[in-house]
Symmetry: C2
């Protein structure tokens, strides 16, 4: 038996990731600058991408190229995700958290100071990982219901 590489293990250097996606390394850096993706960084500051990073990027590429949604559009859609319900942070914490009120940046791009999330690595967070497609965001919203 061979050791199977976990989906979230950062293995691909940027050039490989670029080839897999058929784009340039600059585009990948741009997506990172725009906070659409958070690649793993080695101590030497070199990026590594996991298989799930590649999937995430395919989804982003699809939104841009097929669905014709601009990068700022994608960011705004991400900002609609009610992360607080998923994280389960306290009412006090969410009131301090910029992610709770932002409607232009994803939660992982505005990360507050005194929140549950401030110590966490967003790259490993389920809000970041599981809701890269807007269908998933809408599904999550569907499972919420009105406070009586």
């Amino acid at each position: 038996m061979f050791y199977e590489i976990p989906n979230d293990e950062p293995i691909y250097p940027i050039s490989t990731a670029a080839k897999l996606l058929n784009i340039s390394v600059h585009t990948l850096r741009m997506y990172e600058k725009e906070k659409l993706i958070i690649p793993f960084k080695k101590n030497t500051n070199h990026r590594l991408y996991s298989a799930s990073d590649i999937e995430r990027l395919k989804c982003i590429r699809n939104a841009i190229n097929e669905s014709k949604i601009s990068i700022n559009g994608i960011k705004t859609i991400y900002s609609m995700m009610p992360c607080w319900e998923f994280i389960g942070c306290s009412e006090e914490e969410r009131n301090y958290c910029p992610a709770y009120s932002s409607h232009s940046e994803p939660c992982w791009a505005v990360k507050g100071e005194n929140t549950i999330c401030s110590k966490k690595e967003c790259r490993n967070c389920d809000v970041y990982n599981k809701f890269s497609e807007c269908s998933n965001i809408k599904s999550f919203i569907k499972n919420l219901s009105r406070v009586k």
Copy 2:
């Protein structure tokens, strides 16, 4: 005392609306084709815009020009609105309604057949009227909470 014109009364012909917004009439028709706006139509098929239509359009213009969100991006953001919670339709109805599952078109663009909404005029609907800004959509989502 003068009679005050209600905010939602359709009074401006397309050329006036275009002047108020500093855009061409073609752009207004394009936004309509894209289902971003539903102007009132006279029996002769001529469009009329209300003051609140103009406000809605200013908001759309702002999203496009300032926030750099593409038209398809705006449509997708609108599709995130949990209209069913606002309308209060039955569980059966929402399962039949395409708006419940769409994540690319606003509810008023996909309007189902056997729903509460099928007979209603979306132009007069609060979901259409009150949630033209993504800040309002996010605020509404905030007032939902997780089903235990």
